[in-house]
């Protein structure tokens, strides 16, 4: 899992969050988090969710774009 399925951030932005094991202690799946766009995913999910090219374009995220901020902290300044 080298890049983010949602924003294509590079590997150095991808954090390994948790490894799910079975009762024998064998690896079943791994959860990753993208520090650029906050997408979180499991490598066992259907490709439609975790493959950038198969995901609907509508759901891509460009972290550089201005997204709405809920209760912007700047309003207190």
């Amino acid at each position: 899992m080298s890049t983010c399925p949602r924003c294509q951030a590079e590997e150095n932005k991808i954090r390994t969050e948790h490894k799910g094991l079975n009762a024998k202690g064998e690896l079943v799946w791994t959860i990753f988090n993208c520090e650029s766009c906050a997408f979180t995913w499991r490598d066992s999910e259907p490709a439609r969710t975790i493959d950038y090219n198969l995901r609907e374009e509508f759901f891509r995220v460009d972290p550089e774009k201005p997204y709405p901020v809920i209760m912007p902290p700047a309003q207190y300044k």
Binding site: H18, G20, L21, W29, I31, N33, R42, E45, P46, Y67
Partner: protein
């Protein structure tokens, strides 16, 4: 107002006394064939979503589903659909299987306004929720068998938490403690985002904490008494306690204790996550498949860090499937959306018989009313649009006569077919509307539709034989008016 509430039935009280926690309720549902175990191995995605959607198809009688064999989560249990069918709600309120939605509606109405808080406080060291306590190395991904609820959700959501917070400027005030359901996205092993807006109690608490630079502590209760989830979503006043309210509605005491960070929490919940607002931090959150059946977009929202976790032995993680209906969310909030609209209308219009606002949180509502005279039902509809919930949600209103059960869609369709005159539909353009209405051309603004499907009524003609009065007029009267003016000013005539 409590003296006006009829006493609960023996069966309702018996059930209320027996059920003190999620576990108790699951056992009770099992005895009644309303809870099943899914023990074949499932992957979190897409298997859990698939089972949840299939179970949700039967909104009347679908069971709760306990998953006890989830790949990557050996030994862990997760339950969906606890409030997934009206039969499950009926059992909770002490009714048999086969109870109609209309009967449930009247039951909730009859409990409405009870104001005798029934709360027992127990010491934290005796509370089952404190059987296990973690104070470091938190890993929500490991503790909770999370799944991606809808395929394009931005992450893994906790969709059915009851979150307790207190006004950070008045932290000792029990009444200003708020319990609400807010969507939570896990963002790191020990951090999560929580969506609230300034209008919510939680939103006010967040803004107050950041403005004054004081900490905001919260307790996130998971796997709760089933009445808590049902009634924490009900709009009540800022100074009223949701705990008191839920116990009143059940007619039986609820057990409270103190969380490690000073909140009142349910003593018998499966898990309580204590957390603190990361002041000034905003993180990407969403999309999330919401109740209209559409995704709400990506936002930057407040973030919290976990400070401690308490949980029972072998905790059962309760979550929800929500998305394009019918889903558990529709059943969970439907009757509690309908009841306050009814309660508001009945004050002015005792002719209102019942309100069905089950559909997508009331985006469509059906009101049954005893029509007094031509146009009366339309006036009632206008009043409904002015109720707190109606202002933002009631997009389509269908008005039916008192002989039509608004919860029976076959009857409603009959009324639409036989009693609607196209002339008696009203469109009010450009009204306020919840921003997530998928039909909106401009978010936050929408048109209202009223279909008056009540039968023809003659107009109220009392006083209809009026004739204009002809008062005396002319120079003589003008002269008298001048005299009156002079007298008033102390002059002589």
């Amino acid at each position: 107002m409590s003296d006006k509430n009829p006493p609960l039935s023996d069966k309702a009280l018996e059930v209320a006394r027996r059920i003190g926690s999620l576990r108790d309720f699951l056992e009770f549902l099992k005895e009644n064939g309303q809870c099943i175990n899914w023990s074949e191995e499932v992957y979190p995605e897409p298997d859990i979503r698939n089972v949840a959607v299939a179970a949700g198809r039967d909104s009347m009688n679908g069971p709760a589903v306990i998953f006890d064999n989830i790949a990557g989560y050996p030994g862990k249990k997760m339950v969906l659909g606890v409030h997934g069918s009206f039969t499950n709600l009926a059992l909770l309120l002490g009714h048999p299987k086969g109870t109609t939605i209309k009967e449930l509606f009247y039951d909730i109405i009859s409990r409405w306004g009870a104001d005798e808080p029934l709360l027992d406080f127990i010491e934290p060291d005796k509370a089952p929720v404190n059987e296990n306590r973690l104070t470091s190395n938190f890993n929500l991904y490991e503790l909770l068998p999370l799944y991606r609820i809808n395929e394009y959700d931005g992450g893994f959501y906790i969709g059915k938490a009851n979150v307790v917070s207190r006004d950070p400027r008045d932290p000792d005030n029990f009444g200003k403690q708020n319990v609400g359901i807010y969507r939570i996205q896990v963002q790191a092993p020990g951090e999560f985002t929580l969506l609230s807006v300034p209008a919510h109690d939680m939103g006010r608490h967040i803004m107050a904490a950041e403005q004054e630079g004081v900490p905001l502590k919260i307790s996130v209760m998971l796997g709760n008494h089933p009445a808590m989830c049902m009634f924490a979503a009900t709009p009540i006043g800022y100074d009223e306690s949701e705990f008191a309210y839920a116990s009143q509605m059940m007619g039986s005491p609820m057990r409270l204790t103190k969380s490690g960070n000073g909140m009142d929490i349910l003593a018998d919940s499966e898990m309580v996550i204590e957390a603190e607002l990361m002041n000034g931090v905003r993180s990407f959150e969403g999309p999330f498949g919401e109740f209209p059946g559409s995704y709400s977009g990506v936002r930057k929202i407040p973030r919290f860090k976990v400070t401690a976790i308490s949980h029972r032995n072998d905790p059962i993680f309760e979550n929800i499937y929500i998305g394009r209906g019918w889903t558990e969310h529709d059943t969970l909030i439907g009757l509690n959306t309908s009841a306050p609209i009814y309660a508001a209308l009945i004050k002015d219009f005792p002719e209102v018989v019942a309100v069905n606002a089950l559909y997508q949180h009331g985006l469509t509502g059906i009101i049954s009313v005893k029509n007094r005279f031509a146009g009366f039902a339309k006036s009632v509809a206008m009043r409904a649009l002015g109720t707190p919930h109606g202002t933002m949600y009631l997009k389509n209103l269908i008005m039916v006569d008192d002989d039509v059960d608004p919860f029976d869609l076959n009857e409603v369709m009959w009324a639409l077919s036989t009693r609607t005159r196209a002339e008696d539909t009203i469109v009010i353009p450009n009204m306020p509307m919840i921003p997530i209405d998928p039909a909106a051309e401009v978010a936050g603004k929408g048109h209202r539709l009223i279909i008056d499907a009540t039968s023809f009524m003659p107009p109220d003609k009392l006083g209809g034989d009026s004739k204009i009065v002809t008062p005396p007029s002319g120079p003589e009267i003008d002269a008298i008016a001048k005299v009156i003016q002079l007298l008033q000013n102390g002059g002589q005539s």
